[in-house]
């Protein structure tokens, strides 16, 4: 019923999903902090925000994330992709610790251990459930 559809290239795609989402969010938050608060009466500020390099790079990374996420869902289960890519939270925390020398409290280290264990568990199992023919709602709708 389940099988492994993973190749080295597909693990790389999952890595891209894991890394680009938190990094994209991080860059957007830096960019929006530089732009400042946006009020409903001055929505044109959002156009100005698009000229900020961090926001442009953040949007590019989030486009990368979404396209890689869609690709991964075409050859792996949702319940495989979501835990497997949650390692991105850990990567960002480790980058903040070793790159920016931020202090990581004990609870966060514990969270890192739990997420890493979850990724280890799920990626060692099968990645794709073959759906029997009697589920017509999941048959090909777009050719």
């Amino acid at each position: 019923m389940t099988k492994s559809t993973m190749t080295f290239r597909r693990y790389v795609v999952l890595g891209v999903v894991a890394v680009t989402a938190p990094l994209g969010d991080f860059l957007l938050s830096i960019g929006m902090a530089r732009v400042g608060p946006v009020s409903l009466s001055h929505l044109s500020t959002l156009i100005y925000a698009l000229k900020t390099p961090q926001i442009l790079l953040g949007i590019a990374l989030l486009i990368c994330f979404f396209s890689s996420y869609l690709a991964s869902l075409s050859w792996a289960d949702l319940t495989y992709v979501l835990p497997a890519t949650s390692i991105g939270n850990v990567i960002v925390a480790l980058l903040a610790h070793f790159g920016k020398h931020e202090h990581i409290p004990l609870t966060r280290w514990l969270g890192i251990i739990l997420i890493t264990a979850a990724v280890g568990f799920v990626t060692r199992g099968p990645s794709y459930t073959e759906i029997p023919k009697h589920h017509p709602e999941l048959e090909v709708e777009t050719r």
Binding site: N89, T107, I112, E137, E141, T142
Partner: protein
């Protein structure tokens, strides 16, 4: 507990529930769309990148799923303007892992074995701890 704080508690729970429900519907619809479309690597090999993009954008389930993801995002923004980030973000992120596992088993007929349940619960707990 005062009546006011109890009302705040229910309001926070309702906002978090809205985020989680919309995100789960969005994720499941998008996953169903991608499963129905088939392996994007194969489609790209046969019809090129534009063919793959057209196959995705032409799927009603995909459009429906993205609409629900947008609803989830706006619900998050709304919730953040009324409740604490330290409550809303980790609660919605971690609960979504569990609801996605349940929805994927029921609606996508994925084989969610004990390994995947354990992974979903560990990620849920891990995300909560990292946000503390």
């Amino acid at each position: 507990m005062s009546t006011l704080s109890l009302q705040h508690g229910w309001a926070d729970a309702a906002m978090i529930a809205a985020i989680v429900i919309f995100a789960t519907i969005g994720d499941v619809m998008i996953a169903a769309a991608m499963r129905a479309i088939g392996d994007l690597d194969d489609i790209k090999a046969r019809r090129g990148l534009s063919g793959a993009i057209l196959a995705v954008l032409g799927s009603p389930r995909f459009v429906f799923g993205v609409s629900f993801m947008a609803l989830s995002f706006f619900s998050l923004l709304f919730a953040l303007s009324h409740a604490d980030l330290s409550l809303v973000a980790p609660a919605s992120a971690s609960l979504t892992f569990v609801t996605n596992a349940i929805a994927a088993k029921i609606f996508l007929h994925e084989n969610v074995d004990s390994r995947r349940w354990l992974a979903a619960v560990l990620v849920c707990a891990g995300v909560t701890l990292m946000a503390l």
